[in-house]
Amino acid sequence: MVFGATELLPGDAVSAVAGPSATEAERAAVRERLGLDRDPVTRYLEWAGGALRGDLGTGYTGGRSVTELIADRLPNSLLLAGLALAVALPASVALGLLAGARAGRRADRAVSTGVLLVAGLPEFVLAALLLWLLAARTGLLPQVSLVPLGGTPLDAPEILVLPVLTLAVSGVAVGTRLVRSASAEVAASPWVEAARLRGITGPRLAARHVLPGALAPAAQALGLMTGALVGGAVVVETVFGYPGIGLELQQAVAHRDIPLVQGIALVLCAVTLATVLLADVAARALDPRRGSPR
């Protein structure tokens, strides 16, 4: 599917490689070199075969192996998404529970409205805002995520703060709402009512009584959110110049580097699919009633 989709992208790498002023002969030569003169079915079979073997072909620009290239970038993105998740997950669970367990009360209104306000800002505005607040005005943090040459982002943790924060904040906004709606429902159930009548209140009520019931539905949605984090970092990575897979995808699309687009899309799909499946499994494990309908 990824292959088919990218095939449909108008234009081809020929112009990107050969340059706008190339002659027809030059273009034909490039086309032949890239193997674009053969029919799509053959190319698909080759590509799919290669993909199965872990070989995603060679990028048009620069001619590096796509697999190698993704291996360069993916860890950075995973790190970013992982850190963002590590911040966003507990925060959205905590906030979502706080709001959901007291649905309709003042705490809920405050959290929900606040979360909505943040969620209401497009990601690049949020990024710009954080940038302005934490970096440009105060100079506390670097504005651009320049990874030390030859090192990993972890060698300069300060460059991770802003991208992670941006991703996490928008993740929290979505996550909180999902957890809230799940836990509000549970909070209204007779068993939570019974727990209240036993004098259980506050964090204990939320964590021990509301959460277990809310986790299963929330896990589903949070799984999707995770997938979106990995792939959706395009904007954040562009704004901060963070060398991740999202930035790479954007550039590859702009350069019509089809093998690279295909490779990245495939890897993104795989990562997202994995998280979604994981979430499904988690949801199943967390819901005792699954599989044994009453």
Binding site: S189, P190, W191, A194, R196, R198, G199, I200, P212, D287
Partner: protein, 494 residues
């Protein structure tokens, strides 16, 4: 205004008025009550008379849709309607068991963790290993007291993996584990067979009195109130008064011989039922019949497998085998493969009356749907059905959670009847009803049996209900115990 607290008064309710928010109707109409330490007070009254409302007010709780208008409540001198008072009252002073204990257990938590938490919450602040050992001991003790298994396997189960009566006893254990000074129990034994109930009650009260605790017991089970209570108060229309009926005798009433309704061919035949819950065989080798116009009682101790049998008959149970015939023609084991006609022919009134009602559907909607399916979807018909089960047509606009426990149960019954079944399966349909209302319901069933040839399968613990059956099948541990002899003993054999 407040009444001076005497040293002995543990709980005091003074002139409490609770009204419905929508129409201002009082549900409690100037109730005053004093409960002394060490006293057991029983509260009896018709379904919908306000018992649960009063019991909850001791915990500072008023259900949504009701509002307290005036009056005061004090428990050990604290006002449970203030937030500090509430948390202290609920945490340390009062243990509460609600009317629908099955739905009070968190379906996502294991029984063990609920019990441990209750033990920990009320334990003297012991932390660490010693604390844990103490908690375990108390949990075990509570389970033993409730006649429940104490093996870790049982504690690891989820609420939906135990029977209705077992769930009720777990909930009772949760309420009593902290040995609170005041126990408020709302129909604590409705799902238990009488001998177990009596046994349990005796143990409970012995321990409780020893510890000097007071108890407010809401029950229509006269046997129970008689055994336990020092004092019985009646409640009627939200006002307290002396109990309406004099305390009845301790003995179960003489079993009335049920007149055989019809002796035609059995309407419903079940043979060689075998049902499993995972690897555990819940029911095996059960055969029973229900005659047209007849009534078969399915009895047995809690956890015997009665509800499982009912669910199998309906085709809801996932893994079962056996032969099932309705009026001579075979019924598929899975309801999905039954025709609409076949499905309508069998109707279940489920044991868990909360779970069986759509929380967002009014009584009217719940009744009109099956009525429409059976061809008479008028509002009058719905109102008539409600009246037949002893409910006011005013209830039509209500949502399930605005109903009292008994009312809910009867709405369930009305809904099942609305589908015009040929066989009605009643799983503890009278457990939350007072004697009077129960008799009315039984009378209704009898009438339907005669008039329409309705076959009834009654799952019950109640001797009096059982007595209306013309056949009795007893289950113990998932197996039939000599049904013939039992039946003969009852004098109900054909």
């Amino acid at each position: 205004m407040s009444v001076p607290t005497t040293a002995t008064a543990l709980a005091e309710v003074d002139d409490l008025v609770v009204t419905r928010r929508t129409d201002g109707e009082p549900v409690l109409d100037g109730v005053s009550l004093t409960l002394r330490a060490g006293e057991v007070l029983a509260m009896v009254g018709r379904s919908g008379s306000g018992k649960t409302t009063l019991a909850l007010s001791l915990l500072g709780r008023v259900r949504e849709g009701l509002t307290p208008r005036s009056g005061t409540v004090r428990v050990a001198g604290l006002d449970p309607f203030t937030s500090e008072g509430r948390s202290r009252v609920r945490r340390r002073l009062v243990g509460f068991l609600g009317q629908d204990p099955a739905s009070a257990l968190n379906p996502a938590r294991r029984l063990g963790s609920t019990l441990h938490e209750a033990a920990a919450l009320t334990a003297p602040r012991g932390r660490g290993a010693a604390g844990r050992a103490e908690r375990e001991r108390r949990v075990r003790a509570a389970l033993t007291e409730m006649d429940l298994p104490t093996d870790p396997g049982f504690l690891r189960r989820y609420p939906h993996q135990v029977s209705g009566g077992q769930a009720q006893r777990v909930a009772l254990a949760v309420a009593t584990i902290g040995e609170p000074r005041l126990l408020v129990l709302d129909e604590p034994t409705s799902g238990l067979d009488p001998s177990l109930a009596e046994d349990l009650a005796a143990r409970l009260s012995a321990r409780h009195r020893r510890a000097g605790g007071a108890m407010l017991l809401v029950s229509h089970d006269r046997l129970l109130t008689e055994t336990l209570a020092d004092r019985t108060l009646g409640i009627e229309g939200g006002r307290l008064g002396p109990p309406r009926r004099p305390a009845p005798s301790r003995r179960p009433p003489p079993r009335r011989r049920a007149e055989p309704a019809s002796s035609g061919a059995p309407l419903l035949e079940l043979a060689h039922l075998r049902a499993t819950h995972g690897r555990h065989v819940a029911v095996e080798g059960v055969s029973l019949t229900v005659a047209a116009g007849g009534c078969t009682a399915l009895v047995g101790p809690s956890g015997a497998g009665k509800s499982t049998v009912a669910r199998c008959l309906l085709g809801l149970h996932g893994s079962w085998s056996g032969e099932l015939r309705l009026a001579g023609s075979a019924l598929p084991t899975d309801f999905r493969r039954r025709t609409g006609e076949q499905r309508r022919a069998l109707q279940l009134v489920a044991q868990d009356s909360v779970g069986a009602l759509n929380p967002r559907e009014s009584v009217r909607g719940a009744l009109l749907r099956p009525l429409a399916a059976s061809g008479n979807g008028s509002e009058e018909e719905a109102a008539r059905l409600l009246e037949r089960v002893g409910l006011s047509p005013a209830l039509l606009g209500r949502l399930p959670h605005d109903l009292s426990g008994g009312e809910r149960q009867r709405v369930n019954l009305a809904r099942a009847l609305a589908a015009r079944p040929r066989v009605l399966l009643c799983d503890e349909v009278t457990s939350a009803l007072d004697g009077e209302t129960r008799d009315a319901v039984l009378e209704l069933l009898r009438e339907l049996r005669h008039a329409q040839g309705l076959g009834v399968l009654l799952i019950t613990h109640d001797w009096e209900v059982r007595a209306t059956a013309d056949q009795v099948v007893t289950l113990v541990d998932g197996r039939m115990v000599d049904a013939e002899r039992e039946a003969a003993e009852d004098g109900a054999s054909r």
